[in-house]
Symmetry: C2
Subunit: 339 residues, 2 copies
């Protein structure tokens, strides 16, 4: 190798201070906290006297692969984007707006410094592209470990509104979703079982992107709260599992409209054909889309970005659950559902 | 094994909901948030319109060992205590009081469920024993991974006070510490190089406990702020390294008093004899005590729990740094210091 070739620098060659010096300037573009990184703790404004908080860890080989069976390599940007997006989604799902995040990174010694810089860029890209304009990166922690993991904790402001809980759905409510449903699962199937990533056309690459860089509809949470939504939650584990949680917390049955489900599935015909899957399984069981599930009063005009997907029925003495076209389904047994 | 013997249950046998059902009741004793665990995010009071936030990850084999060379086994209680304590210390070091924590756990499949329950108990024990009476566990995240790690994010309230930064030390200030200095490093030396843990007498076991279950002086941070401290920081990486950070941030020299250092070292004569070490190396270089380093106005009466350890001198055009008895020392070169 000649001296003019660019040498790969790994984190084991850098002190913590040197690695931070590569990361901080990339994060500083996101605006300012009352007190940002560099002291023992940061100080963030909480203008209405409350702060919303959520935390989530992504671990290599559990939540993402560095190299997928399709040949796709997760970039630092992908992992940073997803870590930010899924936490921003939890704040959105309370009807709140993000104000700050802190990030704890655990890095194997042989991680490339450029990959870590990419992760910082991915965090920033997600915050900006998703419209979390008031969110700053206020601090974090760097450590070494045998496997790569990223923990993001996001703080948010309710801007004077009440939080919208998953327990508030009422009989007669209109059930709606914001964002796409099933796309991330379709993308995961392509990453795990699909043709080589290089061969994918734009429609298939789009669902892979939906998995690697989910796009939670961040405006939609506060809009749902302002529109009087009774219940709201993040779709992270799939429509049936998350719907079951909202249903049980609210003591109701969430009845999904088969025609709406088929419409969502129809959008995934291309990826389904590529891997020989039933797209309805993605719509019902696929997680990580980070859209929103909401219950609105029956007479509501749905806020922009929401589409009807069913209605809320009484639990009739049961614990509550999910139904499709009036027929109860088990969250873990939906694949036996007779279509 | 007979059926009446207690069977070891590992986390791979439990669903996330089943594991949470073992953890939540243990954490619920810590009082209530505006909205606690169970929804997409928690809601915490921030009565003065600001929130202090800090995050930190502990990873197996990096920050703790499950089995130490001395034979000591880290209990779940130890790891939970330390994860809580070191984050509570960061809030203390701003002059704030903790209001809530969120906890993200990554667990290998073969982790014993009882160990995880112990971790929850350790968090609670630390919060209570250290006096963080207003701190609740508001939520968290559970995931699987190849190695065990715990990320705690703590939120705090400044109760209307200004945060006390590390950058505020002024020439002429009195330098003081709260809490013991060097004990955790002595404990680490015993865990790594000492005699079998079972053979330790009470004075040696005490420094092992100082490492495994550090006791940050949580009242001392707000007391220092109320007493008008100019600068305050957590002693997590050792007196020289952390002192160097405060000195550079403040543009001053922190001059440590050799007699005070010898007094701290003298308290560690027992552990030093047990492993053949110089106790001054622990006092100057040892981390993880989670005491406080503070700079007070010269005429101050030190708040309870603080003891003088030096004074603040001008940097004389330099970048600032640490001196001992007026002689500059390098944070990484202190062991060459001529005593």
């Amino acid at each position: 190798m000649t001296e003019t070739q660019r040498r790969t620098i790994r984190v084991r060659e850098l002190s913590e201070a040197e690695l931070l010096a590569r990361i901080f300037p990339r994060l500083a573009v996101l605006g300012s906290a009352l007190l940002g990184p560099g002291d023992d703790a940061a100080v963030i404004a909480a203008p209405d006297g409350r702060v919303v908080v959520s935390t989530d860890t992504q671990t290599q080989d559990q939540d993402f692969r560095l190299v997928w069976p399709s040949g796709y390599r997760s970039s630092g940007q992908d992992v940073g984007w997803k870590a930010a997006a899924q936490n921003l989604s939890d704040i959105n799902a309370m009807g709140a707006v993000a104000t700050a995040m802190v990030v704890s990174l655990t890095l194997p010694d042989d991680t490339e410094a450029a990959w870590v810089e990419g992760l910082a860029d991915g965090l920033v890209d997600a915050v900006r592209s998703l419209g979390a304009t008031g969110c700053t990166v206020a601090g974090g922690d760097l450590g070494r470990g045998g496997e790569l993991s990223v923990t993001v904790t996001v703080l948010g402001s309710l801007e004077g509104r009440d939080p919208v809980l998953r327990s508030g759905a009422r009989v007669g409510d209109l059930l709606a979703v914001a964002g796409r449903v099933g796309d991330a699962a379709a993308g995961l199937a392509l990453l795990e079982h699909g043709p080589g990533h290089e061969a994918l056309g734009p429609d298939l690459a789009a669902v892979v992107a939906a998995h690697c860089r989910p796009r939670p509809p961040l405006g939609a949470g506060p809009a749902a709260a302002a529109a009087g939504a009774h219940a709201l939650m993040d779709l992270s584990d799939g429509l049936l599992k998350d719907g079951d949680r909202m249903a049980r917390a609210s003591g109701v049955v969430l009845d999904l409209d088969p025609a709406a489900l088929e419409e969502h599935a129809g959008r995934l015909a291309g990826p389904a054909a590529a891997v020989g899957a039933d797209p309805l399984t993605w719509v019902l069981g696929g997680g990580e889309d980070h859209g929103l599930l909401a219950a609105f009063p029956a007479a509501s005009q749905l806020p922009e970005g929401f589409a009807a997907i069913g209605s809320v029925l009484p639990a009739n003495g049961g614990t509550g659950g999910v139904a499709i076209g009036g027929r109860p389904v088990q969250p873990s047994g939906w694949d036996h559902f007779a279509r």
